[in-house]
C-alpha cells in the first residue's frame, strides 16, 4: 500500500484578516506531478488561499492545517516555506526600488539551493545559470540588470515570476492569475515555460479566471471556490462549462 502523503494537503482551513473571515474551511489534496486549477469569482478567496499557503503574516489561521509532504508548515515563516519548496507567483509582483533583479534572483536561488543541500552559486556561475533559464521566458540579459520589477510592463513582471519559478525549482508552484495582463504572445511564452518546468515530481496550482490559460497548461483537476471554500471539484470539463455558463449557474455544472 502506498502510504506516501500528498505533496500538499490543506484540511479545514479557516483564516481571517483584521477580524474578517476570508477562508471558511478549505480542503484540498495535491499529489506529486498534478496540475490543479482554482477558479472563482473575484473575492471568493482564491488569492487569499495562495497567500496563506505562502505564509503571508497578515492572515490569521483560525483553524485547520496545511501540510507539505505530511508535515505541517503553518508555523513556518514565508522564507522557510519557500526553502521547503513552496512558490507563489504573485498576481501583482511587487516593485522593489533600487534592488537589482539579478542580485535578488541570485539571493533567492542560493537560499533555496542551500536548503536542498546544493552548493551556492557565485556571481559567474549564477550568470551562466540564469542566462540559460532566460531562454525559457524569451527575455534578453538586459532584463536582469534592471531593478526588481521596477518599471516592468505587466507582461515582463509575469515573465519574471516564471523565471523565479524556474530558478527556484519548487515542489509546488501556486500561480496567482499569472495570465492576467498578458497579451496572446506573452501568454504563449509563459504557458510554454510552465509546461517545461512541470515535471512528475512537482505540482502546480493555477489560479485563473479564464479558460485560455487552461487550454495551454492543461489541469488534471479544476476546483471552484466560492465564499472562502471549494464548492466544486472535477476535471477540465468544469472550466469549459464555466466559460459557457458563468458563475451564476455554477450549481448547474455537474
Amino acid at each position: 500500500m502506498n502510504t506516501k502523503p500528498p505533496l500538499l494537503e490543506i484540511r479545514g482551513l479557516h483564516t481571517s484578516i483584521n477580524g474578517k473571515k476570508i477562508l471558511n474551511g478549505v480542503d484540498l489534496k495535491i499529489n506529486e506531478g498534478e496540475t490543479h486549477a482554482i477558479m472563482g469569482r473575484n473575492g471568493s478567496g482564491k488569492s487569499t488561499l495562495s497567500k496563506v499557503i505562502a505564509g503571508h503574516p497578515a492572515y490569521k489561521l483560525e483553524s485547520g492545517d496545511i501540510c507539505l509532504n505530511g508535515e505541517s508548515i503553518t508555523d513556518l515563516e514565508p522564507d522557510e516555506r519557500s526553502a521547503k519548496g513552496i512558490f507563489l507567483g504573485f498576481q501583482y509582483p511587487i516593485e522593489v526600488p533600487g534592488v537589482s533583479n539579478i542580485e535578488f534572483l541570485r539571493a533567492a536561488t542560493n537560499a533555496r539551493r542551500s536548503f536542498i543541500g546544493k552548493e551556492e552559486l557565485d556571481t559567474f556561475e549564477f550568470d551562466e545559470f540564469v542566462t540559460e533559464q532566460l531562454n525559457l521566458i524569451k527575455m534578453n540579459t538586459s532584463f536582469l540588470e534592471r531593478n526588481l520589477n521596477e518599471g516592468f510592463s505587466g507582461g515582463e513582471k509575469k515573465r519574471n515570476e516564471i523565471l523565479q519559478m524556474a530558478l527556484l525549482n519548487p515542489l509546488i508552484s501556486i500561480l496567482d492569475e499569472t495570465d492576467s495582463g498578458l497579451d496572446i504572445d506573452s501568454l504563449k511564452v509563459v504557458s510554454e515555460a510552465i509546461n517545461k518546468i512541470k515535471s512528475r515530481t512537482n505540482s502546480i496550482i493555477l489560479i485563473t479566471h479564464y479558460q485560455r490559460l487552461l487550454d495551454e497548461v492543461v489541469p488534471d483537476f479544476v476546483h471552484i471556490m466560492n465564499e472562502g471554500k471549494i464548492v466544486k471539484s472535477g476535471d477540465k470539463q468544469i472550466a469549459i462549462e464555466l466559460e459557457k455558463s458563468g458563475f451564476e449557474n455554477i450549481e448547474m455544472i455537474k
Binding site: 503571508h56 503574516p57 515563516e77 516555506r81 519557500s82 511587487i94 522593489v96 533600487g98 534592488v99 539571493a107
Partner: protein
Amino acid sequence: MSKLLSNWLENLPKAEGYQKKIRNSGYNYLKTIGLPNKSSEDWQSTDIRKLEEILSLPLNLSFESTRSFKMPSISKGSYRVILDSNIDKIHSDDLPEGISLLTQDEIINFLNSDISNQTRNNITSAINEASTNKIFALKISESNSTPIEIIIKDSIEELTTTRLLFIIENNAKLDLLEIIKSSSKSANSHLSEIYLSSHSSVNHGIIAVGSEEGSLFSRQSILQEPESSYSLSYLQEGWGISRIEPYIVQLKGHASTNLKGLQVANNEAKLSTYTFVRFNGPGGNLEQLNKAIAFDSSTSIFNGIIEVPQIAQQTKASQLSKNLLISEKAEIYTKPELRIIADDVKCTHGATVSQLEESELFYLQSRGLSLNEASSLIMKGYTKEIIDFLPVNANRWESISKYLKK
C-alpha cells in the same frame, strides 16, 4: 556673549596679514551674534551643549591627524589631497593640467567680494572661518579633466578645522569627492566654498562617516552663475552629532542644481541636513531628494529651505524628503520650507516617513530570504538612489561598498 565663546575667541591663534583677512568675517560674526540658542530656528533640534563641548576642545593647530585610517587606492586618473600640514608643500607645478593654486590675493579678493558674502553670516561657517588659518584653494580651468578627492581626518580630543575654496572657471568641469572621517572622540569643522562661473559644472560628493563620539559641523557654500550646473550627493553615517549644511545661491538664476542626500542614523546619533537654495534670478532649476534611515535611538533631521523671490520667475524646483523609521525609539524630523514670492513658478515638495513596506518584505521572504536579509536588501536598494550618484568611483570606499555588495 557667553563666557565660553569669549574665551574661545580670545584664545584663537593670532592671525596676521593674509590670515587676518580671511578670518575676520567669522570672528566678527561670532563677536556680534554669539552662539545660537533654542530660539534660533536652525538650531532648535540641535543640542547646543554639543556645540559648546566642541568649542571646549583644543584646536588642532598643527593641522595634523592623530589617526590614520585605511584608504583605498586612488581612483585611476584622479588627484588626491589629504588636508593636513602637507598642503603647504603643494605647488601649482605639482597639480594636474587645468588645476592651479589660487594666490593669496585671489583668495582675499574673492572672500571679500559681495558675491562671496552672500553665503556668510551663519554660525557653522563663522566658527570655521574664525579659526582656520589655511585655505586649500584651487582654480579649475576649462582644460581640467582630473577628478579630485579630498580627505579630511580628525584628531583625538581636538577640533580640526578645514577649509576649501574652489573657483571653477567658465566652461570648466570638475568631479570632486570629499571624505570626512572620524574614528575617535573628536570634532571636525569643515567649510567648502565653490564658485561656479558660467557654463561650468561640478559633480560634488561627500562621504561623512564618523565614530559615535565624533562631531561634525560642515557647510557647503555654493555660488552659481547662469548656465552652470551643480550636483551634490552626500552620505552621512555614524557620528554622535553631525550637521551638513549645503547653502546654494543661484546668483542670477538660469542655473541647475541637484541635491541628493542620505543620512543613516544609528545608535544615539543625531544627524541633520539643513539645505538652503536661493534663486536670485529667473529660470533656475532645482531637483532635490533627501533620504534618511533611522535605527536604534537615533534622530534624523532634514530642513530644506527654498527661496524664490519676485525676481525668480519661471523657477522650477522640486524637493522630496523620504524617510524610513526602522526603530520605535528613533525620531525623524523633516521640514520642507518653500518661501515663494514669484508667481510664475513650478515648485513641488513632499515628505514621507514610513516603515519598511510589508508587501516588499513578504515578496522577498516568499523567495527564501529571511526577514533580516529581506530588510537589508530593501534598505540597500533604498540607499542606491543616492549613492549611485557619488562621483570619483566612490565605491572604492568601504563605507559605500557595503551598500553595494552583492
